[in-house]
């Protein structure tokens, strides 16, 4: 039930600079794809670069894509966000589709580190009629009342108690005119 065992930080949903309120600014600033031109583990990245990369760059003109071919190195991608955060992901032995998936994941993030959301809803107006305080629903007459007061001193009338109701039921079950036994 509790989340204390998780090392994941928790928080409420937020966005940098009220993104989306005025206009939506894609938060991914640049992405660096490092791969080997020869090694088999970079095959997926190489295939992605040859086929899907141009389309990705065209659909995300606000993101700069850097390619770093490095021999004898495993493939990886480093995403840099507008709020200064960096995300590193190793792409070793990934397929072309997996690279596409992770790249689209990086694009849609805001750069705020992954955290457990405490609530999935948020409101700026938590109370419509006003938060309850002890003076809500109090009769204004108590201000100028002299105690003991014949109405206000008594407990608030909530109707007959359970005992009273049982007595009423018992009385109803009684015979009205008991017949006197004839000698």
């Amino acid at each position: 039930m509790s989340n204390k065992h998780l090392f994941l930080p928790s928080g409420f949903i937020r966005t940098p600079l009220q993104n989306g309120l005025g206009r939506y600014i894609p938060q991914l600033q640049r992405i660096t794809l490092k791969f080997c031109k020869n090694h088999g583990g970079s095959r997926g990245v190489r295939d992605f670069i040859e086929t899907d990369l141009m389309e990705f760059a065209k659909t995300n003109p606000g993101t700069v894509v850097y390619l770093k071919p490095r021999r004898h190195r495993y493939p990886c991608m480093v995403a840099e966000y507008l709020n200064g955060e960096r995300e590193y992901l190793s792409c070793h032995e990934f397929s072309r589709a997996e690279i596409q998936k992770w790249l689209s994941y990086m694009c849609t993030r805001s750069g705020i580190p992954v955290m457990r959301f405490r609530k999935y809803q948020h409101t700026d107006y938590p109370s419509i009629q006003g938060v309850w305080n002890p003076f809500t629903h109090q009769a204004p007459e108590i201000n100028v009342a002299q105690f003991p007061h014949e109405i206000l001193s008594k407990p608030v009338d909530n109707g007959p108690t359970a005992t009273d109701q049982l007595i009423e039921i018992f009385k109803k079950t009684q015979i009205k005119d008991p017949v006197k036994p004839e000698h």
Binding site: Q18, T63, S90
Partner: protein, 355 residues
């Protein structure tokens, strides 16, 4: 030393990240997977980190490098991405000028003259653009505030304007649109003033490239939205609310405000609370609560003023973005038309906002 170098190579072979070879950054998050490393890896990395921390402490903090010192850096591509990210079209020369600071030009001229090349650099700096942009941001902010807060006195408008155009607010905006890596300046890490100047110059460049209309929408989308979630009554409060309320009611021809105690509790305790209501000619206007009678009276007067200005806690939500489409012409009209000051405020002369 040789052993350490060998272990580093082994670290690389096992596919570890080059975190220790990257310039230090404040946060690098790794999307982790299940990796089973040999026993000696963790202690080795721990020792490397410990030695690095000792060196960093000795040098007064980790070394920081400007993003342009990286091998993967293309200034033209970054400029292109900057304008596309914001969804705006810039005249490229104007944008580059807007991002060039005087300190950078001076530094470059000094460097060239040190080498021996005594040339007068033709690069323009952003001083004039910054001044123009500052005036534009101020104007557009005022227009928005006066169009949305029609019933509010000019003092509160000025307080909100001062907050929105403050150095801290504009610096945050500048940082989060990616200006930090694009600015050409001699100070690193860049100061707040540099960010603010760049942002103002960018706004002026946008007005020059795409027109004032686009620049207005830009300021509304990025600067003014920082008003969201803020309690504007925290920014400014009338100094003498009781006196102000009395003056306003007198000007409107209504009866003098009468303060009556409505509720109280815990008078002899630390947690005393008094609710005082303001009445004008036996009509209830507002109530306020406080720890003492004087505080409660002042709070009641403040609440009454808030109700007159339509700035209560339950006021209408502020419009942003697309919701401003219908009132853009009104915003333009009110940019140079200040609201009524508190000394002259009267409800007949103000209209309720429709947005």
């Amino acid at each position: 030393m040789a052993a350490l170098w060998k272990t580093c190579h082994q670290c690389l072979r096992y596919g570890l990240s080059h975190k220790s070879f990257y310039p230090s950054v404040s946060a690098i998050n790794v999307i982790s997977k299940r990796n089973f490393k040999p026993r000696w890896v963790a202690p080795t990395l721990r020792e490397i980190k410990r030695r690095k921390d000792v060196e960093d402490d000795r040098n007064g903090g980790p070394k920081i490098f400007h993003r342009s010192t990286f091998l993967e850096w293309n200034y033209d591509a970054e400029i292109f991405a900057f304008s596309n990210r914001l969804g705006e079209k810039f005249n490229e020369a104007t944008l580059r000028t807007a991002l060039t600071h005087k300190s950078y030009v001076e530094r470059e001229t000094a460097r060239l003259s040190d080498i021996g090349v005594d040339s007068y650099l033709q690069i323009q700096n952003n001083e004039e653009l910054a001044v123009a942009g500052g005036a534009l941001i101020s104007k557009f902010t005022n227009g928005y505030l006066r169009a949305v807060f029609t019933r509010v006195p000019e003092e509160l408008i000025m307080a909100m304007h001062d907050f929105l155009t403050s150095t801290s607010n504009l610096e945050i905006v500048g940082k989060h649109i990616g200006l930090g890596d694009l600015m050409l300046c001699s100070d690193f890490p860049c100061e707040s003033e540099t960010y603010v100047k760049s942002l103002k110059a960018v706004v002026a460049a946008l007005a020059e490239s795409s027109g004032e209309e686009r620049a207005r929408i830009f300021v509304q989308d990025l600067v003014v939205t920082q008003l969201y979630g803020l309690d504007i009554n925290e920014l400014w409060n009338p100094a003498d609310p009781v006196g102000n309320l009395t003056d306003i009611l007198k000007r409107e021809g209504k009866a003098e405000p009468e303060f009556r105690l409505i509720k109280h509790s815990g008078q002899n305790s630390v947690l005393a609370v008094y609710y005082v209501g303001v009445y004008s000619d036996k009509n209830f206007i507002a109530e306020g609560a406080g720890e003492s009678l004087e505080i409660a009276k002042e709070m009641a007067a403040r609440e009454a003023l808030k109700q007159l200005f339509h700035t209560e806690d339950s006021m209408k939500a502020l419009p942003f973005g697309r919701q401003l489409k219908n009132i853009q012409s009104k915003i333009v009209q009110l940019e140079n038309q200040p609201n009524l000051p508190l000394s002259k405020w009267i409800s007949e002369k103000v209209t309720s906002a429709v947005h």
